[in-house]
Symmetry: C2
Subunit: 420 residues, 2 copies
Amino acid sequence: MHSALSTQHSALIYNIGQLATPIDEGRPLVGAAQGRLRLISDAAVAIDQAGRIAAVGDSATLLAQHQVGEKLNAGGRTMLPGWVDAHTHAFYAGDRADEFALRLQGANYLEIMAAGGGIMSTVRATRAASADQLRELTAARLRRMRANGTTTVEVKSGYGLSVAEELRCLRILRDLAADPTLPRIVPTFLGAHAIPGEYAGRADEYVSLVVEQMLPQVAAERLAEYCDVFCDMGAFDVAQTRRIMEAAAALGLKLRLHANEFADIGAAELAAELRCVSADHLLLLDEAQIAALHNAGCVAVVAPGTPYGLGLDHYAPARRMIEAGLPIALASDCNPGTCPCESMPLIISLACTQMRLTPAEAIVATTLNGAYALGRAHEVGSIEVGKRADLVLWDVPSYTHLPYRFGSNLVWKTVMGFEF
Amino acid sequence: MHSALSTQHSALIYNIGQLATPIDEGRPLVGAAQGRLRLISDAAVAIDQAGRIAAVGDSATLLAQHQVGEKLNAGGRTMLPGWVDAHTHAFYAGDRADEFALRLQGANYLEIMAAGGGIMSTVRATRAASADQLRELTAARLRRMRANGTTTVEVKSGYGLSVAEELRCLRILRDLAADPTLPRIVPTFLGAHAIPGEYAGRADEYVSLVVEQMLPQVAAERLAEYCDVFCDMGAFDVAQTRRIMEAAAALGLKLRLHANEFADIGAAELAAELRCVSADHLLLLDEAQIAALHNAGCVAVVAPGTPYGLGLDHYAPARRMIEAGLPIALASDCNPGTCPCESMPLIISLACTQMRLTPAEAIVATTLNGAYALGRAHEVGSIEVGKRADLVLWDVPSYTHLPYRFGSNLVWKTVMGFEF
């Protein structure tokens, strides 16, 4: 495979002890295929002048053919595709460390909301922050993600919750997306993340604001590729969510949905009905709902860091999803309330220890299936000719070490195109 | 407190936004006191020429008094004592990543043993490794621990399991203990870690080897400060353990014990009877056993990374221990089988999310109570005048961020004496 050699290689990474990659067959990997990685020993990857993969093959062969350009000796290390993290709220100011501790001592979400905490606490901090502060805080966060091997990341708005603030946040995010030192950013509009205090008791009016004022501007300025809604108890109901999602789709935005995280209010069925690209969280999901998502072609985005951070005793039914043929992507859900986790290797470890994914299933879920969950599989998610050279070298002898050696950052080098 | 100023300061760390330390009152902190940290804002720490803490106080005051020597501006960051990790098996070669994955898919420990895995797999790899290899592998591991804020670490033997190999390992460990770039090492002899294949069916003969040949040499060469035994189903029973521990005590070694991890065979009662400095693991522990350990003055060393790595649904009953006044220390249990975790911040996060410790309780458990569990509280475990300057600066505004921001290494600098 992948021996189509170009004469325009401009860089070569060789002496890769183990190269592990999913094989992209044009759709998310499901069932037994979700656990299948192609392994190449003593591998090399050639990168062309556009920063795309030009060849994948045997180290000695590619080294002999590669006469010009930069060379990087991987020293026998393991190469995987960069992580594609399909669900984050990584754009925010402030923190909720105290709330995190209170919740683990038994305070519930509603008590914390009543005390002025929860999402609105982050909204206040985000609104109060300057553009420079928001840019720096988010860039630092995304750089730490990249240092842990993430090369593509979805980032949602949702801590502005007014027309001006949602647009301000998305414009700053657009600036960040142009920074080549950061992971590639896929922006999502989540104006319907919570009902802001100003609209307490007037949720439908807030939905009108989202539909009539936020969405048209977001679409006109092309500030987001996706629209998402937090469809759950205490947030937006199914009717409100449908109204927002239909308006977004009419404006050309693609859809993804927070579904069945805290309560089952029909969000999973709605995600299926709307044929969302992904349905996310899915902690409470029965077989009929799994089948509905499967039939609708949704990717299930599972974020085990969140139940971990909440100290819950249940996780999304990932094994049942895989058995039913529903493709799983794993995401960090990086957010200031329940899970400020910037490390996809820890997410992989949680997926293996708490949801019983195999290491290979977890790696497919954080690479190729993550790329499908973001509509980016033509570009990223596997180490194959023509895709972007988003490549991570790990200081381990095999991909199986990633869930096993939890807690340490084992990245040796994160490569995006030519930056090595 | 701590305003005793010396004229011999030779270094000052100032502009510490938050200094958080347990206060050492001569015994492990228990009950409500286990959750008590002293917090100082805008703090500074002066270090004398012997690498000990000379003063702890207000930043402006100490800065004015500190005329000579090095200065380090902490930039408003948070300082905590270095972690004291009271239970590790960090001296080994090889890995058991495949076994880790198999076990999460349902393979049990006995099946893995039968297939040649488990502890004996690491014994084979360790015996086959050269002294240089063992030195380098262990040093790299201990350096990663230090990079995560660990400044004192207990390390057990137990992958040699012959007279020659146990002594070889402990001698290499002694060499490592002289390396000032590593955490301080407290060596423990764990010749009774498993019954080696050569003694299959002859456990009592192996115990005789430990008692008659290993222990006298270990004591004569002062290769270990503690003796430990893996007293559990499938390892050593109570009678065998008592025989080893009594011989060790007679030779002047202090005692610690693996107890009640997989089965309750009476190990906790034995630890109490022998007045071990610590009883470790304790996943299965009733109120009478908690009381017995409490009355015997034992520290409970709890290692939540191990049930996490095993994918278990139960952890040590840490809250009940605290309520009963039993002091808790948290340890990594870093080992190649169940938990190769080198990050005490992840252990703290697990303690908070899975066992409901408060952030302060978890930090006392990883600092001062860890020091008591190793008989080192006179030297380390809190930031107080006279103790060693084992200090870690964290890139966070408060200690509460450590369990909250799980997955990232937030250390800014680990200081031991003058190394900054």
